[in-house]
Structure formats: C-alpha cells, structure tokens
C-alpha cells in the first residue's frame, strides 16, 4: 500500500458557507494512501466542517472532492462503503450496551453472524472493553466511550478513516493508547485523516500536516518542513568568563550575546551538521565551552506564528 501514488483523498477548491459565514474558503489537499494526514487548526477553523464534507455528511458549495477514488457528491454511497468516521462528538448509542453497539454496526455492514461475532470479540479485546461489553454505554467513562466509538468505526474494516479530534478530553495515558491504535491501523495500510489542536499529536502521527486557519490552508508539509518555516531555532553556548565570551562572539558573527549569563545564542536549524561545524569552529579557535543547548522550533512556534491570535472562534463573514 505504502508508496502507491493514487491519493486516497483529493480535494480541490472546497468551499462551504453557512449563510453569510464563510467557513471553508477554497481548500486543496491530497492524502496519499496508507498515510496519516493531520489537519491542524484552532477552534472554529473549520476542521469539523471539512471532515463532515469529506465524509458525506455535508455537501460542499463548490469544489472537486474524491475519497477512495469516488466523488463525494455523485457517488456518496460508494464513498460510504470505503470510509469510517469517528466524529468530534460521540457517535455511540447511549441506551445500548457496548456489545449491542458493535452488533448494530456488524449488522449494518452485513457481516454474517459468525464473522460479526469474531470481529466484535477481537475489537472488544483490542480496545480493552471486554469487561464493560455488557454494560450500558451511559455508564462508560469518556475514554471508554472514545474507544468504543473508534471500535465501532472499525467494524466494517474501512480503508479510509476520519478521526475528528480523537484524543480531545483524554488523559495522557489514554491519549498514548489511542496513538498506538492509530499507528497499528496505518501499519495495516489504512489511510487516516485526522484533525487535532494538539501539535504534539500531529508531530507524533502524521506524515503530512496542513494548518487550517479561518477556512484556508495557511501551510502544508511534513512536520520538518513546517518547522523550517519559522525562525527561532538556535544553539545556546555558555562560557566560563568574559574573555572567552568576547573571543567566541568574534568567531561566530551574527550571534547574540548575553553578558549577564555569559552566553551566546547562535541562530541555527539545530541539525547535527550545523552543530558539528559550530563545534569545529570553536575548536579551531581553542574556545572552551562550558554548556551547550539546542532549541529547535517546534510546531507550537509554527502554529502561533501561522494562525495569529487565538481568540478567533468564528470564521470570516463575507
């Protein structure tokens, strides 16, 4: 699966407004088969709306959208056969038990009785829900609900899965469990379209990340490419006395000195090569370094610098 060129999802010029509110303002993206794609954005950016359009819940106002090679507007049922969706808001039947919820999915995917039972047992096992299987979902904790939600999505073994903020509200341990489940899915060749507000999550899981803000993609690329977009990476050197600091400052032009802490900040991408050549320069000038730390820009920097102010819970009115 990996290495196939056919995109699992391709979007061109997607637009969507709710009345006068422009929520998606011309979105283009491609997701390669068997990879994780993360759509990153602050509250109200339009992430859920994007997922709803791609998963046939909402119709777009304009744009070419293909999922699994099929057009979401004209071949909605074919798309629905290929996808699984775990939305931002719990999509389980609270009045039924976990087992009954899974059974419901197995019936709707028209699995035979034996197949269905086998699949359900596997999923209960894998999602650590065996003990709770016979209890009503209304008694589940948030994390259990979330796991059941994903388990229900997997009953039909969809090739393309949409996860809208899959770890929102989970504790760090449950979040890691969810990440591992997602990695397992990708290892089986499933394509995952994920939205999140957590940069760490996108960095952990995604092959490619798009940053959505005010209904537009403001940046797209691999996590590394995105990090390179923002300045702010540097190497910090500490010295024993003023004299050494002076010599280092002369040796490394363009750096910023701080006399109080006897330290120097050298702009750098923080890569190993840059570090090695910096150390070589210092060696050649026989400069003794007491301490060294590397600060690479993380996605937080990218996020903050790309999406600007964060109190935007609304899209741009036309």
């Amino acid at each position: 699966m990996i290495g196939s060129n056919r995109p699992a999802i391709s979007v061109r010029g997607l637009r969507k407004s709710f009345g006068p509110l422009v929520v998606l303002d011309g979105i283009d993206l491609d997701v390669a088969e068997g990879t994780v794609f993360a759509l990153l954005g602050p509250n109200g950016a339009g992430k859920t709306t994007t997922v709803q359009v791609l998963s046939t819940l909402l119709s777009a106002d304009a744009g070419q959208i293909r999922v699994g090679g099929r057009d979401v507007a004209r071949e909605a049922d074919a798309v629905r056969h290929a996808i699984g969706v775990t939305g931002q808001f719990s999509a389980v039947d609270g009045l039924l038990t976990g087992m009954e919820n899974l059974r419901l999915m197995a019936d709707l995917w028209h699995l035979g009785r034996a197949d269905g039972r086998r699949r359900i047992d596997q999923l209960l096992e894998r999602f650590d829900l065996v003990d709770a299987a016979k209890k009503p979902v209304s008694t589940y904790s948030g994390g259990m609900r979330r796991r059941l939600d994903l388990a229900m999505t997997l009953v039909g073994e969809p090739r393309i899965i949409f996860l809208d903020e899959p770890t929102a509200g989970l504790d760090p341990r449950s979040r890691r469990v969810m990440w591992q489940l997602i990695r397992d899915l990708v290892a089986r060749g499933v394509t995952i379209f994920l939205t999140t507000q957590y940069l760490e999550e996108a960095d952990e899981l995604a092959r490619r990340i798009a940053v959505l803000d005010h209904g537009r993609i403001v940046a797209e690329g691999t996590p590394e490419e995105l990090k390179r977009l923002v300045p702010g990476g540097h190497i910090r050197l500490e010295f024993g006395d003023h004299d050494t600091l002076d010599r280092a400052d002369r040796t490394l032009p363009g750096s910023v000195r701080d006399d109080e802490t006897l330290s120097l900040q050298v702009p750098s991408d923080g890569g190993v090569r840059a570090l090695r050549s910096l150390l070589a320069d210092l060696d050649r000038a026989s400069i003794d370094v007491h301490g060294l730390s590397v600060r690479t820009p993380d996605l937080d920097d990218v996020f903050l610098s790309l999406t600007g102010s964060h109190d935007t819970d609304k899209a741009v009115p036309r």
Binding site: D77, L96, D107, L108
Partner: protein, 262 residues
C-alpha cells in the same frame, strides 16, 4: 443498495428501537396510562349523563361505555404518536444518527425502524386499554372477524400517525416542541364523534367534526364493534390512513436527508 439490504437494515433498526423500548419501558406504560385515565373519567364521571343524551336509544353508563370505547382507542393511538415524536426528536440529537448517515445504509431504514417500532408500541397500548375496557364491562356485540378488522384498522391508523409523528419529531429542534406538536392529534377524537354525537355541536364545529379524518375512523370502528352502520366511512377511513402515512413518510425522509450536522 439492493432490496434485501433495505429490508435487512430496516430490521436492524427495528431491533434497535425495540431494545430501547425494552430497556426504558416507562414511556410505553405512560402511553397506555393516559387513555385509561380518560376512559375511567368519561365512563364513571360523565358517563351517566352523556349516556342519557346519546339519542335514539335512551341509555346510561353502559351504553355510553360502548359508545366511547372507539374514541378512547383512537386517543390511545394519538397519545402514542406523541410519545413517538418525543422518542424520535431525542434520537435525532444522538451522535449515532450522524454515524448512520456516513454509512452505506438505506435512508429509509432508520425511519422504517422508528415507524414499525412505534406501531408495535402503540398496538401494545391498544391491547392494554382494550383489556381495561373489557374489564369494566365493555362487550363488543359483533363477530370475531369484525373485531379483527377493528384491530387491523387501529393498526393502520397507528401506521399513519407513526409516520406523521416521526416526521414531526424530526421537524422539531427540541424535545419540548416535539411533545407539543402532536397535541392536536389528542384533541381530534374529542372534536369529532369520539365522545358525543356530532349533531349536538354548533354548525361550524359540526362541519369540521364531520369532515376530519378521525370521524370516519371512529365511525368504522364503532360499526365493527357494535354493529352500527358503517356505510362510506370504511373506505374514507382507509383512504385517510394511507394518505397520512404517505405524506408523513415522505416528509420524514426529506427531513432526514436535510438533518443538521450535529
């Protein structure tokens, strides 16, 4: 989407509705409770007086009981419709409905499941109310075939009102509105020949009472239970039921497709 899948998916959705019902039987009990209270009220409080005014045959409480039972059975069906609208309105706010809409499921299946589940719930209530009516002395004078026909007509009415109330349930944004919208349905048997003959009503009201859908249904039921003449009411009753079912179901289907996203 093959036809067998439409049927299979509908059966799956029906199973879901029945599970809900079994787990939360209070609504079913409530649905049967109201008409029983109305029945007892009308027979024991008003029955003596109303029975005397029935006309042709001078009567009392016993005559009134046999006059009012068809109306009470319709109140039962109408009351159940109100319960259905509430159930559906609540269900549509559940996230699982959004999940269904991202799956390759026949669109009609979710609605069919609700309609058939509602009909079963309604007919259970009809049976309970009938038993109470029999217990307090109601005796249909016709043949068992006619009783079956009466039951079938109630079933058809239940289909019609269930379709309508599923649509009403989908139309509303809140559960409160859902419980109020079908209110007029409960009143219709009173504004027809359900509790008193229409001929005593003022002209305008009588005109309405004689031409509203519940009147031919009540008249047909009455005929099937006490042998009074049915005449054209039978055909009219069936036509109304089929018409309401069709309009209700198509409306519900349309609303389902345009459901808000969350």
């Amino acid at each position: 989407m093959t036809r067998s899948h439409v049927l299979g998916d509908s059966a799956t959705m029906l199973r879901r509705s029945l599970l809900h019902m079994r787990r939360y039987p209070s609504l079913t009990l409530f649905v049967a409770g109201i008409p029983i209270v109305v029945l007892l009220l009308f027979v024991y409080v008003f029955g003596g007086t109303l029975g005397a005014g029935l006309g042709e045959v001078a009567g009392g409480r016993a005559e009134y009981l046999s006059y009012v039972v068809p109306g009470i059975l319709l109140v039962t069906v109408a009351g159940a419709a109100q319960g259905t609208a509430i159930t559906v309105a609540m269900d549509m706010t559940e996230g699982i409905i959004a999940r269904f809409r991202t799956m390759a499921i026949s669109r009609a299946a979710v609605l069919t499941g609700h309609v058939i589940g509602a009909v079963i719930q309604t007919m259970l209530a009809v049976v309970v109310v009938s038993i109470v009516a029999l217990a307090i002395g109601f005796r249909p004078t016709t043949s068992p075939v006619a009783w079956l026909a009466a039951f079938a007509l109630l079933g058809l009415t239940a289909v019609a009102l269930s379709c309508l109330s599923v649509a009403l349930g989908m139309m509303t944004k809140s559960v409160e509105t859902a419980s109020n919208l079908p209110m007029p349905l409960m009143l219709l048997p009173f504004l027809g020949s359900g509790f008193v003959p229409t001929r005593t009503m003022p002209d305008a009201l009588r005109l309405f009472a004689n031409n509203q859908p519940f009147t031919p249904i009540i008249e047909t039921l009455r005929g099937l239970l006490d042998g009074s003449p049915i005449a054209g009411s039978g055909v009219l009753a069936i036509a109304w039921c089929l018409g309401i079912s069709l309009v209700g179901f198509l409306l519900a289907l349309r609303l389902y497709e345009r459901l808000p996203e969350r």
